[in-house]
Symmetry: C2
Subunit: 386 residues, 2 copies
């Protein structure tokens, strides 16, 4: 693994991941002699095409689908935009209804707002205190013109899983398409498009140890969308543009590595995350866990220290890299839309830390991070109430 | 330069280019320790953001614009789609008129066809026998609802330049936006957005020795488009998605190298191309030059051997990589839309070869390629008329 210097502890794997050495290795030929255009008919081009198709097979193997159901994109945001805009008939947007939920990523919510501006109807379902959508609410929201339900697999901030399999039973019964933004789930937990029952699924390479700038979209055989990028006939007409051979090869390798390491990674992440959680809850009085304590990503810990500012906690710990859940301005707190939808009180939300472990971590690092955080909170509390 | 094996001669630089070693070198840090997310506020993230911003400066320097006018995309196709769809109000597509021409790349023509389906009006102007648009025809086509003129800078097949500066004088006088797909021009000739007078300009990284999967869009200060990819606020809200740090760094380096090498590259390409042209015209009776003999890219040679099949000429020369201009099927010839728009007769078009030199070539290679092609054509003609 490409580790940050020993003195640094990276606990922000949901923001992005280091590039796996096997991923880098898979990319190198295409940065050197194998520079052909996959559309060219001579061997140099054919080998580039074969590289892309081999990568497609690796992605398909991780998702449990056919390679012909995998389309490469520039990342999770493009995958999401492709589905959300691609199911709408722009000539008659008002005839289209999309159902999503309040804790989705901006790459789902903002395309939806764009569609609303065009005249489409979008229902944004609420979530409960753990950040979960109620499948019954999905069912009730479906109307004759409902074209798509888009519900994420796991939340990027809290790690909370959505009840996708239950939702897919409903959408299938009603004949409605189902999309899931699985950017945070793929590579961290087993993701199988059949058991999920989804029609579309978005993958973001840089969340699973491939570089930023590559993603994939699963499109179930027999389903289709209008392309977001029109042009030449690459990706069987779904996505124009000369193939990103280098990064596709990287994503393929990342998916292979994720498949091979899945069981060990899952257990290892969970052990580190649980240990971190234990240290923090033992050492910090009044600490709040955000998200579903059980049904969540094995690497994600989202906690709040009521009354303190998350950014100030972290700014005192230069060696620790992590995220917060709110930004404090002079006169107000701007809470993440996820915590807001979960109705986390402002005084709690302002002290939120998102700590996400990954392959760059060791148990020793995580324990060190836990001790640092406990000491830092104690120090800040002492300063506050001397 | 990453050269193909010595026995191979790559004359297809308009299809794609090898990755320059300086480009690869600029990318490597971001494939190793510098894996941060540019949106993260700690030093690892800040350095990634600085890498992207440094690359943006390099692109801007090559185009003669401000860094704030450069937006990274996944490539030329996305850049073109962003402009063409981004200037249209999808709520009132019928109020929008776009003017383009018949020899544009599919990444311009196909988005236009999509817009026509939505109700927009698109005028596709014809070209003359050299592949040039008449600026007067542009002027005549402009009507009150004309929103955009999109005319390429140099054609990918023939290399023919379009009279962009003349067209921009017209569009500016009429208050119409001007876009140019400069995918084939950037890196081969000096491209300056001010002297061209364009409002939008598309760049494709892999045409100038950066990898496939990265591009840029120039958007003149004060002009704007609706994003193609909605989501988080990357690229100042114009293009959502975690930045492709690795390939952006590569494109930045490619632009720097192109700027540094421009004068020498331009002369060198032209010398090789002209020598190749000379050898072919000396050795092949009846050879036809397609495109403008003077006003064209310095690296591009598009010629036709009437009566022979381009693909068959090349298939007999395993060491030579180049493109054709038509595909022959059992009962018909499918000519490239560019040659078709130039009214090249079918018997001529079927024998078209696109030979595009670049940094991977030496003069000796090009002369060898010329001799091989002359001998091959002679051989085929002898077989035909024994």
């Amino acid at each position: 693994m490409t580790l940050p210097p020993q003195s640094l502890i990276y606990l922000d794997h949901n923001a992005t991941t280091p590039v796996d050495p096997a991923v880098r290795e898979a990319m190198m030929p295409y940065l050197a002699g194998e520079f052909g255009n996959p559309s060219s008919g001579y061997p140099l081009g054919i080998r580039a095409r074969e590289g892309v198709e081999h990568a497609r097979e690796e992605v398909a193997a991780l998702l449990g689908c056919a390679p012909s159901e995998v389309f490469f994109t520039s990342g999770g945001s493009e995958s999401n935009n492709t589905v959300l805009k691609g199911v709408v008939d722009f000539r008659n947007p008002e005839k289209c209804h999309i159902i999503t939920c309040a804790v989705e990523h901006p790459a789902v919510l903002n395309p939806c707002l764009f569609l609303v501006e065009l005249g489409a109807k979008v229902t944004i379902l609420p979530v409960d205190g753990l950040g979960r959508v109620d499948p019954e609410a999905v069912e009730k929201a479906i109307e004759p013109r409902t074209r798509l339900v888009s519900i994420m697999l796991a939340n990027n901030e809290t790690g909370t899983f959505q009840p996708l399999a239950e939702i897919s039973r409903i959408t299938r019964a009603k004949g409605v398409l189902l999309h899931t933004d699985a950017a945070q789930a793929v590579g961290k937990i087993p993701v199988d498009v059949e058991s999920l029952g989804v029609d579309f699924l978005s993958v973001a390479g840089h969340k699973l140890y491939a570089p930023k700038g590559i993603g994939a979209l699963y499109v179930r055989e027999g389903k289709s969308v209008t392309p977001l990028i029109h042009g030449a006939s690459q990706e069987r007409g779904l996505r124009a543009g000369t193939e990103n051979v280098v990064l596709a090869a990287g994503l393929g390798a990342a998916c292979r590595v994720a498949r091979e390491r899945m069981e060990g990674d899952l257990e290892g992440m969970k052990a580190m995350r649980d240990r971190l959680q234990e240290i923090l809850f033992e050492g910090i009085e009044g600490l709040v866990l955000n998200g579903d304590p059980e049904k969540r990503l094995p690497n994600t810990l989202n906690v709040s220290v009521p009354g303190l500012e998350g950014a100030k906690i972290l700014s005192g710990l230069q060696g620790l890299m992590a995220s917060t859940g709110a930004a404090c301005h002079e006169d107000r707190v701007s809470m993440s839309h996820v915590l807001s939808a979960m109705k986390v009180p402002e005084r709690v939300a302002m002290g939120t830390l998102r700590l996400t472990v990954g392959r760059s971590n060791s148990m020793a690092q995580v324990e060190e991070a836990g001790r640092m955080l406990v000491a830092r909170v104690q120090e800040m509390r002492n300063e506050k109430e001397p």
